[in-house]
Amino acid sequence: MNDISFVQEVADTARSVIMAVLPLAVLFAAFQVFLLDLPRKQIQSILIGTLLAATGLFLFLLGVGIGLLPFGRAIGAALGSAGEEWVLLSVGLFLGFVTTWGEPAVRILAGEVEDASNGSIRQSLVVIAICIGVSISVALGLLRIAYEISILYLLVPGYALAVALTWLSSKEFVAIAIDSGGVATGPLANTFLLALALGASASIGTQDPMVQGLGLVALIALAPIISVMLLGLLIRRKASAKE
């Protein structure tokens, strides 16, 4: 990476972090002025915390941009030229799991679940359920690219299954599950796994790689919805077996 593109990356990252913090800051300022009237000490700790979070997000995204994105492309290209399905499948399974395991928003969501449920739904269980969901969806997504199956053949039955599970699961897990779909497609998945799919489809598939890559993200958003509701059903079955 040369100096100019590094400076560009820093500027782009800084801009996106500022854009992410701005609406939250404006909203909070409006609240503070019109409704909240919090003591100064609390305002201070909220401001410091927000500043820390923004700095952290900046470093994190910069690391993703300069380190993970180019390497994700290299892995995608290498897998594409290796060309064997079982390699694609197993790498997809592993990378899907560990990428989601590292996704910050997944941790934050699962931590909030543990807090809100007073510890009865453990953070680690939710994280693992989301990771398994993504892991399977990445493997399916890569196989789909290799066999050129239309994305709708996976998405429509998947969403139908999600609707069916909604009526079997407890309300708690329905709520957690739909949020899980959103957090799984965080900055790591969007750059790392997407780069992987683009690399693989550029060397295997004959269709437009952009369309293929987009389909993968849709699968990653869907799979945790199903896997988290299944976790809820498992927990309930275990609890009723104990009684």
Binding site: A53, A78, G102, I108, I121, W167, K171, G182, A218
Partner: protein, 249 residues
Amino acid sequence: MSFLGYCCCRAGVTRGEIMWSELKQRLAEVLQTVAPLIGVVCLLQLVIVQAPAALFLQFLAGSVLIIAGMFLLFIGVDYGILPMGRFVGGELPRKGSVTLIVLVGFAMGFATTVAEPDVLVLASQVDEISRGSIDRVTVLSVMALGVGTFVALAMARIIYDISIRVLLTASLVAVIALSFVTPEKFVPMAYDSGSVTTGVLTTPVVIAIAVGLTSVLAGRSPVSDGFGLLGFASIGAIIAVMLMGIAMQ
């Protein structure tokens, strides 16, 4: 962990007392979060990829930044972002009317969508596919409108105590049905747009506001009513892009 931070913040414990052990615990958590990814990538480098050393070093440098960034991010979320959301969520029903709560939901959804960098990338893709007939500003406003509407709907659901199953089933059936009538080029893009609305900072704020809301409304569960807003925000974006595709025909 976030709960500990929250308690200390509320109880007015001075931060110095808990700082060191908490920082150490945080760092351990971050390392445990990122280590598997780094490990698998190193293994792949050895076995399959064999990328040039410079590229691999770049990856390692990026990993150091990721660890440092996540460490700061988690601390900042605990001390600043989550309390911010909880205060806002807790005060909303006390000070404001139903209209205000729903309006705040809409404004949150709208503003965070417009500010999300990924949305801009998507908007330029739509611009390109539609050969300029749908410009970026239109895409951006339609998506923000979709997200805002669904967050507002989901907040109204909490207040009026409508089952999450009903709203979710109706929304997902709409998504499936629209998939068949939306022009093919727009379908993958629409599904993808669902992922652009949930940024790392938006996630804790939205959840904390909703949990705060449930804590002051009678008879609401913090879990089944506090979660779900993010999911509906994504569905709002998907439906908005599909409708835009249909309108284009």
